[in-house]
C-alpha cells in the first residue's frame, strides 16, 4: 500500500525536520542565555515522528501536539516566532504570556488544540473534535500524540475506548521514546509493543520505525485515510529514543551510554539525508541553500521574539471568562443538510436491537431501530506486524454465546 513519495514530499519532509531541529537548537542557545522562561523540552532525534505524522494531515484536519511535537506545529503552519515567544513568555506569543512551551492553539484557522501538562487529556478531547466534525459532515481527521509514559494514564484508556465505540476518525500517535522522565518503558508497561494496547479497544494499530521519516509518513497517511473513510480510530506506535533528558535540567545519567550511541547512529535527519543524496534529490549546493534559508528565517524570528515586550502585569486578571458578543466566534460549519439531524429525520425508535435476540421494549413509535453488532469487515484488519487482530475483542471473554459476544463487541454503525 506504501506509495513512493514525490520529489516535493521528500524535500518537504527534509525541510521540516531541519526546521524543527534548527528551531530547537536556537532555543537551546536562548536557554543558555537565560532568555527562556521555565523549562525547555527537546525532541532531538524524534523529529521524524512530529514531522512525518503531521505531514499526513490535510489543512482542514485537526491536531493537538504534546510538549515534544514542535515539528508538528511547524508542519501545520505555526511560524517559529510563535514558538520562540511562547518559550520566552512574551506578550506577542499566542497566549500573550499566559502559558509557555507548545501550550497554545488556534481553533479558527490552523485547527490546533492546546495541550496541557496532564498526559492523556487530549485523547478524549480530540475524539470529541472528530465526532463533532463527523456530526457536521466535515470529513475531518483528528490527531494527537502520547508518550510511552502517558499511555498508562486512565484518561488514555477512557478516551481511546470512547473513540473506538464511536468509531471516531481519530489517529493516536504513541511515541515510544523509551523513557518516562527517568523510568524505562519496561518498568512502565509489561508489553514488548505498546501498539498492543490497541487490542483492548478492538482498533487497528501499526508499529513504525520512528526514526525513518518516510515510513512514519506513509504509515500515518494510510492511517489518516482509513480513519477518514470511517474505519474508526487507529493507534500508531512509533519507536524512537529521547536523546536529551526530560528537560534541559536533566543530564539523563540513568540512560546507558550504549543505548544513546545506538540511537545517535540512527539520527533521522542524517538517515534521510542519505536517502535524498542517493535519490539525487539533495546535493551539497541545495543543502547549503537550505542552511542559509533556515539561518535567515530563524535569525529574523528570534530577533522578533527577543525584541518583543513582556506582558503588562494586569493582563493576569483578564480573560478568565468569555464575555461579550464577539468572544465566541466558532460557529458550526455544516457540510451536510441540517435536516438530517433535526426532526422528523433525526427521530428513531428508542430500542436496543441485539443481534440474534431481537429487541427490547420501547416506548415510542418506530422509524429506525438502532443496531448493535454491524461492525464492517474492514475494521477487523490490523496493520501491526501483519498479524490479524482478534475479530471480536469480547470473544475471548464471552465464550458461552457467540451471539452475546457479537452483540457486546459490535459498535453501532455510524449512520449518516
Amino acid at each position: 500500500m506504501k506509495k513512493d513519495l514525490t520529489r516535493q514530499q521528500h524535500l518537504d519532509l527534509y525541510y521540516y525536520m531541519r526546521l524543527n531541529r534548527a528551531v530547537e537548537d536556537t532555543m537551546v542557545k536562548l536557554f543558555r542565555q537565560n532568555k527562556i522562561v521555565g523549562g525547555l523540552y527537546s525532541s532531538l532525534g524524534q523529529e521524524a515522528i512530529s514531522v512525518g505524522t503531521a505531514y499526513a494531515l490535510e489543512k482542514k484536519d485537526w491536531l493537538a501536539p504534546m510538549i515534544r511535537n514542535i515539528g508538528a506545529l511547524l508542519v501545520k503552519g505555526v511560524p517559529p516566532r510563535d514558538i520562540f515567544t511562547q518559550h520566552m513568555a512574551k506578550y506577542t506569543s499566542p497566549t500573550l504570556g499566559k502559558d509557555g512551551t507548545s501550550h497554545f492553539g488556534d481553533l479558527d484557522k490552523l485547527h490546533i488544540v492546546s495541550p496541557i501538562s496532564m498526559l492523556g487529556d487530549l485523547i478524549p478531547v480530540m475524539a470529541g473534535v472528530a465526532i463533532g466534525g463527523r456530526y457536521l459532515g466535515q470529513k475531518i481527521v483528528t490527531m494527537t500524540w502520547i508518550g510511552d509514559g502517558g499511555s498508562s494514564t486512565g484518561v488514555f484508556h477512557e478516551g481511546l475506548n470512547f473513540a473506538a465505540v464511536q468509531k471516531a476518525p481519530f489517529v493516536l500517535i504513541l511515541e515510544n521514546n523509551g523513557w518516562a522522565y527517568s523510568t524505562p518503558v519496561r518498568r512502565q508497561v509489561p508489553l514488548d509493543n505498546l501498539a498492543d494496547r490497541a487490542k483492548a479497544y478492538g482498533i487497528q494499530s501499526y508499529i513504525v520505525d520512528g526514526n525513518d521519516v518516510a515510513a512514519v509518513y506513509s504509515t500515518s497517511k494510510e492511517a489518516v485515510e482509513r480513519a477518514r473513510a470511517g474505519e474508526g480510530p487507529i493507534l500508531i506506535e512509533a519507536k524512537t529514543f529521547r536523546r536529551m533528558g526530560h528537560a534541559q535540567h536533566d543530564a539523563a545519567d540513568y540512560v546507558p551510554p550504549e543505548m544513546r550511541e545506538y540511537w545517535e547512529k540512527r539520527d533521522p535527519i542524517a538517515r534521510f539525508e542519505k536517502v535524498l543524496t542517493e535519490k539525487k534529490l539533495l546535493d551539497a549546493k541545495s543543502k547549503k541553500e537550505i542552511d542559509t534559508k533556515l539561518q535567515t528565517l530563524l535569525d529574523a524570528e528570534r530577533d522578533f521574539a527577543e525584541n518583543s515586550p513582556m506582558p503588562p502585569p494586569d493582563l493576569a486578571e483578564k480573560g478568565v471568562y468569555c464575555t461579550g458578543d464577539d468572544c465566541h466566534k466558532i460557529r458550526p460549519k455544516w457540510e451536510r443538510p441540517v435536516s438530517e439531524v433535526t426532526p422528523p429525520r433525526s427521530s428513531v425508535k428508542p430500542v436496543w436491537v441485539v443481534e440474534g435476540f431481537g429487541q427490547g421494549k420501547g416506548t415510542g413509535g418506530g422509524i429506525a431501530p438502532i443496531h448493535f453488532g454491524d461492525t464492517p469487515a474492514s475494521q477487523e484488519k490490523s496493520g501491526t506486524d501483519e498479524k490479524p487482530a482478534p475479530k471480536s475483542p469480547a470473544k475471548s471473554v464471552v465464550k458461552k454465546s457467540a451471539k452475546v459476544a457479537a452483540a457486546v463487541a459490535g459498535a453501532r454503525k455510524a449512520r449518516r
Binding site: W62, P94, T95, K98, D99, H103, F104, L107, V113, S114, I116, M118, D121, L122, P124, V125, M126, A127, G128, V129, A130, I131, G132, G133, Y135, L136, Q138, G154, V155, E158, G159, N161, F162, V165, G319, V320, Y321, C322, C327, H328, I330, R331, P332, K333, V338, V341, T342, P343, S346, S347, V348, K349, P350, W352, G360, T363, G364, I370, R412, R415
Partner: protein, 341 residues
C-alpha cells in the same frame, strides 16, 4: 417541623394554578427546547439515550433527536467531559449528564485543568454544560448524595448554578446552554419529584449570576440555595410567628456570586445567616462571611452564622443522615440566636 430526612416537605410548594410541572420535567423541557431550537446542542452521558437517563430527565430525547445527538457513553466521565469539550471546538454546544453528580469528581482534572482554563490561556471558550443529580436526603449514601459545588466554585473559568425551583431550573439551564463558558448545573434530586410549579409560557431564560429575593424581611437575612432554600423558607414562616421577619435570598448561582443583592439585603437587615447542605468547612458560607467582612463590616450588627451539614461524609442510615443534614429546626434556632443580637 423538620421534614423527613432533614429536608422540608416541599410537595405543596409552588404555584397551584394550571399545569404545574415537576423540577425533573422542567429540566427535560429545557433540554428538549434547546435541542429543538439549535441543532448544535447535543446530549451525552451514561444511559441518557434508550433508557432516558437514570432519573428519566432525558426521556424522549433520543426518540426525537436521534442517536447522533443523544449519545449513550461508556462509564467514562473524563471521556464524556473531554469529548464534549472537543465537540464545542467545532461549534457544538454539548450537554453532559453525570448520572449522579458524585461521579463528576472522576472527571475533576478534565474539568478544572482542561476545560476551565482554556479561555484564559489560549482563547478557547468551551461552551459546555455539565449537569446531574446532586444532594442528600434520599438515603443515597456517601457516593450518591454529594454536594461537590465548592470544588468548582474554587475554579476560575467555570460558572456554577444550583437552582431551587422548577421555573429557575428550566430558565437557568437554557441560559447555561446558551452561555459561552463551561457551566456546571447541579440538580438537587430531593426536589426532582417533590416540587411542582407552573412555568412561564414560551421561551425564557433566567440570568446566570443573579440571586432572587424569595421573602422580604427586615430583622435578618437568610442566604441559601437548592433544597435548603425550602427549608429556610419554612423556618422563616415559623420565625414570623414569633415576630421575626427574615428576608430569604435564593443565591441560584454560586459562581459568579451576586454580591450586589447580598450586600443590599445586609444593608437593610444587618444580620446574615447562611444555610447550605454542603459541609461546613470550605462551604460557600465561609466565602460569604469573608465578603461581608470586607465589604459590609460596618453594616453588620451580629456575627455571620452558618447552618450546614456536618464535616463528615454523607452517612447512609436514615437517623445518621437526618443528624448530618441541616433542617428547619436548626435554621430556626440559629436565626433566633442571631436575631437576639
Amino acid at each position: 417541623m423538620p421534614g423527613a430526612n432533614g429536608h422540608s416537605d416541599t410537595s405543596k410548594a409552588g404555584n397551584t394554578s394550571a399545569a404545574p410541572v415537576t423540577f425533573l420535567e422542567a429540566i427535560k423541557q429545557a433540554m428538549f427546547e434547546e435541542m429543538e431550537r439549535d441543532p448544535a446542542v447535543v446530549l451525552l452521558g451514561e444511559d441518557v439515550g434508550v433508557y432516558g437517563g437514570a432519573f428519566k430527565t432525558s426521556e424522549g430525547l433520543l426518540e426525537r433527536f436521534g442517536w447522533e445527538r443523544v449519545i449513550d457513553t461508556p462509564i467514562s466521565e473524563s471521556a464524556i467531559i473531554g469529548a464534549a469539550c472537543g465537540m464545542s471546538y467545532v461549534g457544538l454546544r454539548p450537554i453532559c449528564e453525570m448520572q449522579f453528580i458524585d461521579f463528576i469528581l472522576c472527571a475533576f482534572n478534565q474539568i478544572t485543568n482542561f476545560v476551565a482554563k482554556g479561555h484564559y490561556l489560549w482563547n478557547a471558550p468551551a461552551p459546555i454544560v455539565i449537569r446531574g443529580p446532586s444532594g442528600g436526603g434520599v438515603h443515597g449514601g456517601p457516593f450518591h448524595s454529594a454536594n461537590p459545588e465548592m470544588y468548582f466554585v474554587h475554579t476560575p473559568g467555570l460558572k456554577v448554578i444550583y437552582p431551587s425551583t422548577p421555573s429557575d431550573a428550566k430558565g437557568l439551564l437554557k441560559a447555561a446552554v446558551r452561555d459561552n463558558n463551561p457551566v456546571l448545573f447541579f440538580e438537587h434530586k430531593f426536589l426532582y419529584r417533590r416540587i411542582k410549579e407552573e412555568l412561564p409560557a414560551g421561551d425564557y431564560t433566567v440570568p446566570i449570576g443573579k440571586a432572587a429575593v424569595r421573602r422580604e424581611g427586615k430583622h435578618l437575612t437568610i442566604l441559601s440555595y437548592a433544597a435548603m432554600m425550602h427549608t429556610s423558607l419554612e423556618a422563616a414562616e415559623a420565625l414570623a410567628k414569633e415576630g421575626i421577619e427574615a428576608e430569604v435570598i435564593d443565591l441560584r448561582t454560586l459562581l459568579p456570586l451576586d454580591e450586589e443583592t447580598i450586600l443590599k439585603s445586609v444593608k437593610k437587615t444587618n444580620k446574615v445567616l447562611v444555610v447550605h447542605e454542603d459541609t461546613k468547612t470550605g462551604g460557600i458560607a465561609g466565602e460569604i462571611a469573608a465578603i461581608l467582612c470586607e465589604k459590609a463590616f460596618g453594616d453588620l450588627d451580629g456575627p455571620v452564622l452558618r447552618v450546614t451539614s456536618l464535616d463528615t461524609p454523607v452517612p447512609y442510615s436514615p437517623p445518621l443522615e437526618q443528624y448530618f443534614l441541616p433542617n428547619t429546626q436548626k435554621v430556626f434556632t440559629a436565626a433566633k440566636e442571631l436575631a437576639a443580637y
